[in-house]
């Protein structure tokens, strides 16, 4: 083994272990000058490659066990964390607030108060039953199924609806130009805004929002019902505008119900703190309060937030809710007109109602629990006393 002499040459070993530029040059030159040594040097190099410094290892079993311990640590922490979240939720349950606004000024359901801001899609080519996303450049994307849409910081859009996925890269338009998401009756969508805030948009709602927000403020416009989780950013206050109120938030979660066609408006605060401006009046909503406005009169009461935001999880929850309100929500949710007799309108309902895929299953649940019967005639549902 001629390579042995190399394995006793300290300079050579040092070069292989700690190769500096200088040594590299020296040995390259050396090999060039002594080509007959190339083979044995190569052999020595390959042996030296097998040298490991500090090879002590954990056995595969030790490694596995150690990883299990790490995962246990993480699980334990998640358990603690879940508990914390649960506490937050229960604390939040009393911390809700509802703002009902009477809206006597507005009639006609497809008009939108901010005409100047709304991009109107060419309705002749669009199926009114589809979800529509009108981009800042007036291009319209439609979805037949409930969509989950995401805007990222760069203004790129990813949309998932059923098995479909659509990607749109940044448009040439001014970044703060407005996009419009129209969710018809019977459909729902969720939307992640450029700042990471997440919005759930309920049936029959229109939401307007910029591709990316302005430097100093974040602002969206709503006709309908949304639930929003606002990313905290004190430097950029977040505003939710509806036709008659503006809600100013700094990182919070709340529900806005403000259908232009409805006479009732509400804001349910889940977490944080919001300022609501109605015309010239301003109200700060805090936990454990519900604020409602009726005939220009503002009143405050407590509510269970779950009764108002559960729709985003696919069920409705009620506490002493008049049947008429429930039927109105179902009608919107399933895009089916529901008529009912006046003598059952004020029936008070409690509990949970799962929003099944079809309205019939939902109606079954209702008539199994309260004394009503229902019949269906040409796409209309009639609910009567049993």
């Amino acid at each position: 083994m001629l390579s042995n002499q190399w394995l006793q040459n300290k300079s050579f070993i040092q070069w292989r272990l700690f190769p500096t530029q200088e040594d590299n040059l020296y040995w390259e030159q050396f090999i060039k000058v002594n080509p007959h040594l190339t083979d044995e040097i190569e052999e020595a190099i390959s042996i030296l490659k097998s040298i490991k410094l500090n090879t002590q290892k954990l056995s595969p079993e030790e490694k596995r066990n150690l990883f299990d311990l790490i995962q246990k640590d993480i699980e334990n922490r998640n358990k603690r964390r879940r508990f914390r979240i649960y506490l937050t939720v229960s604390a939040v349950a009393c911390a809700a607030l509802l703002l009902v606004l009477l809206q006597p000024f507005f009639s006609g359901k497809n008009e939108v108060p901010h005409e100047n801001l709304l991009v109107v899609a060419d309705s002749s080519t669009v199926n009114q039953k589809d979800i529509q996303l009108v981009l800042a450049n007036n291009r319209t994307i439609t979805f037949e199924e409930d969509a989950d849409i995401k805007y990222d910081k760069k203004g790129e859009i990813t949309a998932n609806a059923g098995v479909e996925q659509i990607k749109v890269s940044k448009t040439e338009e001014e970044e703060t130009a407005l996009n419009t998401l129209i969710v018809p009756k019977g459909k729902r969508s969720s939307l992640t805004l450029a700042d990471g805030s997440k919005v759930w948009v309920n049936s029959g709602s229109t939401l307007k929002f910029p591709t990316t927000f302005k430097i100093d403020r974040r602002e969206i416009w709503v006709d309908g019902e949304i639930y929003i989780e606002v990313e905290k950013n004190k430097a950029k206050p977040f505003y939710v505008n509806t036709s008659h109120m503006t809600i100013n938030v700094v990182g919070t979660q709340f529900n806005v119900t403000a259908y232009d066609e409805d006479t009732d408006y509400s804001v349910v605060l889940v977490e944080g703190c919001v300022d609501v401006s109605i015309n010239k009046e301003k109200a700060r909503l805090k936990p454990n309060q519900m604020l409602s406005v009726s005939m220009d009169k503002i009143s405050v009461q407590q509510i269970d937030v779950n009764n108002y935001i559960s729709w985003k999880e696919g069920y409705l929850q009620f506490a002493s809710e008049p049947l008429s309100n429930i039927l109105k929500r179902l009608s919107r949710y399933y895009d089916t007109p529901i008529d009912y007799d006046e003598n059952i309108a004020q029936l008070k309902c409690n509990g949970k109602l799962v929003l099944f895929d079809n309205l019939e299953d939902v109606m079954k649940t209702i008539y199994n629990t309260i004394p009503i019967k229902y019949s269906q005639k040409a796409d209309r549902i009639l609910v009567q006393k049993k």
Binding site: L7, L17, I47, I51, L53, N54, L66, I70
Partner: protein, 192 residues
């Protein structure tokens, strides 16, 4: 020798793999966490052994390191050298353990010893030659200071950037360059 650039390629691919795993992990891919663990656990262990820690102590420290790594996801954004980051976390943890074991009031980071134990894995070479070679390397490294040994180990064996080595040793990058070139010179002078 052409294997120098080949070596650089390997290192680059290795770094890129680390970055990709980090990216997947941050995106919420839990599988990436176990891949990161398996990729770096041996190197972290070897580094800890070099710093003179007991096997079991080291296992505890590695457990804490990965747990912390997992739960502090937010701090991981923008990290460019995942391996260095894990080494740093482990070393911090080991410092804490060292401090609690030596009840003295140590304010500054303690000077830990750094040991390098060579082993020749080549099967083709005779046992006595193996031992001779190992002794050869040991004496070569013995003339270095602990700090020099740690620096050359991180730079040449763990293939870290000078900046990262500097950070782990609480030095500036130019100072580490100087430290390493002195170490090389010292070994070279000794060989003559």
């Amino acid at each position: 020798m052409s294997n120098i650039s080949e070596h650089d390629e390997n290192k680059k691919a290795n770094d890129e793999e680390g970055q990709f795993l980090l990216f997947s992990f941050l995106k919420g891919d839990n599988n990436a966490f176990s891949l990161i663990y398996n990729k770096y656990v041996d190197e972290l262990f070897a580094y800890g052994i070099g710093l003179g820690f007991e096997r079991e102590t080291l296992k505890d420290a590695i457990q804490d390191t990965f747990f912390k790594f997992y739960i502090n996801k937010k701090q991981l954004e923008g990290i460019t050298h995942l391996k260095y980051y894990l080494f740093r976390m482990l070393k911090n943890r080991l410092f804490d353990i060292y401090k609690s074991l030596n009840k003295e009031n140590i304010v500054e980071a303690p000077d830990l010893p750094f040991l390098i134990e060579p082993s020749v894995l080549d099967e083709l070479i005779a046992n006595e030659d193996k031992l001779a070679l190992e002794t050869e390397i040991k004496t070569l490294l013995e003339i270095l200071t602990d700090r020099q040994r740690e620096a050359v180990y991180l730079r040449f064996i763990q293939e870290m950037e000078y900046e990262d080595v500097a950070d782990l040793l609480d030095m500036t990058a130019p100072a580490v360059r100087k430290l390493i070139s002195r170490a090389i010179k010292r070994m070279r002078d000794e060989n003559i």
